[in-house]
């Protein structure tokens, strides 16, 4: 798994707005936003670069955007149409590699590590993909090329729009060292504030912080940041969606007032779960089982326990424990489910040093 990978992150430039401008060129020369109307408290989902010059950006309330840019043209989105264009883009990707992981309608990761195209050059491959999107669909895309997903994603922002940026394996260290933590996917405003309160601004700062302290202060995020700060991201490009859990639940027409009264529904739900497991996930390893209850006051609780195979007895143990948490309230909803073990962990390479 140490082999150097070549990952391309392709990100369409202001996708919805770009599709609208392509279909109706009149919109090319005006500030344009695709999103909900202001009288219905809508928000901007995408806007073109003219609108951006006025400070308009996605997720901004449309009313506010129109204050910043009085001439802003706001049109409602045509999701069906964008989905269809997205499919055309994906078909282009598929001619380069089977390893395509769509993140949304307008961005995707491609793993071209094993590709022989363009002498194995991911840079030229990305260039060609962008050229074809331009030629065949009259849309522009930006791309980031790097040895892993998170750097590739950051790179695709570097020369946006209609550009690309490469970080080669040799450059990873330098690139990451000076990288602002705010650029790491998953680090939002709140996290950033917490990091800054500890004088952590760049990946370089994180590298030399005490690793234990990082773990204690930021938990799992701390470990993630430590890895990212050294340029490490082993997440594979996943071509298909992988089920992490499976559950069944039922909301009752009338709240159920005792555990005994739950029994018929419990049996029915268990049988349903069992059937669905056999149909959809017979090849998966179960990691734990869970019981979910929602009480009369709409509070809900979930209780889970490790398990290797589906066991009705375990559900019977968990149900009263969950019930206790409701302090004698009625039950609105009962759910049973399982979480699956990560596929990767079913095979385990043992380590020399604990």
């Amino acid at each position: 798994m140490n082999l150097t990978r070549k990952i391309i992150h392709v990100d369409m430039d202001c996708f919805y707005a770009a599709v609208e401008m392509r279909d109706n060129p009149v919109l090319k020369s005006v500030p344009l936003a695709v999103g909900g109307a202001s009288d219905r408290r809508g928000v901007v989902s995408t806007c073109n670069y003219i609108a951006r010059e006025f400070g308009v950006h996605s997720a901004m309330a449309t009313g506010y955007a129109q204050k910043l840019c009085p001439d802003l043209i706001v049109i409602p989105g045509r999701m069906k149409h964008y989905q269809q264009v997205s499919r055309q883009i994906r078909e282009i990707f598929q001619t380069y590699t089977d390893l395509v992981e769509p993140l949304s309608l307008d961005e995707a990761y491609l793993d071209v590590s094993d590709s022989d195209l363009f002498g194995g050059s991911a840079t030229l491959t990305a260039k060609d993909i962008r050229n074809r999107i331009k030629d065949e669909l009259d849309l522009t895309a930006s791309a980031g090329i790097a040895p892993n997903k998170f750097i590739a994603k950051i790179c695709s922002e570097e020369n946006k729009p209609d550009g690309q940026f490469v970080v080669t394996p040799d450059e990873v260290d330098d690139f990451v060292k000076s990288l602002a933590l705010s650029k790491i996917p998953g680090v939002g405003k709140a996290t950033l504030k917490r990091l800054e309160s500890h004088q952590l601004y760049t990946c370089g700062d994180v590298r030399y912080w005490d690793q234990n302290k990082l773990h204690h202060t930021f938990g799992a995020l701390g470990e993630l940041l430590y890895k990212r700060s050294w340029g490490i991201d082993d997440r594979p490009v996943r071509t298909e969606w992988i089920r992490k859990s499976l559950s069944v639940e039922r909301t009752f027409p009338k709240d159920i007032m005792s555990l005994q009264a739950c029994e018929p529904e419990f049996i029915r739900l268990f049988d349903e779960l069992k059937q669905r497991l056999e149909r959809h996930a017979s090849d998966r390893c179960i990691k734990n089982q869970l019981v979910k209850l929602k009480f009369s006051d709409f509070r809900s609780t979930t209780i889970e326990r490790r398990a290797r195979s589906l066991s009705v007895e375990l559900f019977r143990e968990l149900l009263p424990l969950a019930w206790l948490r409701g302090s004698d309230q009625g039950i609105r909803l009962l759910g049973l489910g399982v979480n699956f073990a990560d596929i990767d962990h079913e095979i385990e390479q043992l380590s020399l040093f604990d």
């Binding site: 140490n2 040799d170 990873v172 490490i232 095979i347 390479q349 043992l350 380590s351 020399l352 040093f353």
Partner: protein, 366 residues
Amino acid sequence: MKFTTKRDAFLKPLQMVAGVVERRQTLPILSNVLLRVADNIAYITGTDLEVELVARVSLESSEAGEITVPARKLVDLFRELPDGSTINVELIEQKLIIRCDRFRSSIATLPAAEFPSIDRSEISQEIEMDGTALKMLIDRTSFAMAQQDVRYFLNGMLMEVNDDEIKVVATDGHRLAMCTSEIGSSGNSVEQVIIPRKGVVELQRLVGEADGKVKIIFGANHLGVETGDFNLLTKLLDGKFPDYERVIPRGGDNVLVADRQELRHALNRTSILSNEKFRGIRVSLKAGNIQLSANNLEQEEAEENVSVDYQGESLEIGFNVGYLLDVLGVLESEQVRFTLSDANSSALLEEPGDDRSLYVVMPMKL
């Protein structure tokens, strides 16, 4: 600065030095090589601030001086000039003029004073050893170094001196390679350094060229290696290398001896249908025979039986086949010896009758 040189005497050392220079540099001076001429010797230096390489080339005639020029351009020019030609190099008004027969070129330069050098730390000792022995140490172990491990000290190679012995160890946490050699002199004091990956790679290139003696210079923060024509200087990794002695299995009682090439081919064939990501392979040992088997996510499978010398108990154990093939690829003996204890414990791989090289591979749970 002015000198005359034969193209063929200059090109090879220049290429070696240019190899150290990183292709894409943010600092322009780092993509240059330093040329220094003194006493009819040209010193060519390249650096990436972690590793520095100096080549010495004897000249026919020269005037002293120093300057830096782009490494890539200089290599390309020398390479494209005809074999056996004589080349005149001269610095005129901060341009490097290169003349050869009817060819003339002028290259931009940067002042030598701006060329960075790696800080020399205090030297603790120097040892001298056979170049081919050093080459063997590195060739037999470097594959096991980690690539980009968070445990940064694994992204390098441990070099250890003790009296008349020198030992190198590399590990990525899943497998370990160790090789020992005699130095040829005794009374050397104990020394333990970790050479970063890049330094190991350059050293490997260097000793591939050198026969005869090499000198290894141990400094507090750097390691120097000198051959007849080159001086290599690399920074060291600080950090504590894991206690490798602790993970070398002792006293496993299931000993297997196999023909190295036969096993290698069998593993290569079987591995084609192993899971591409994990490359897991199952090894079932029975008296006189091992069965190798692999399958992938598409339920394709392969198996092969190989006759071996084995009298131990029946045992089934999984491995990353790549780790086994790496070892079988660097060994040179006719046979290979495996010492195993159980499916969750490491395997020891050695050349029967030669204990200089030793490999430890952790199994895989399949």
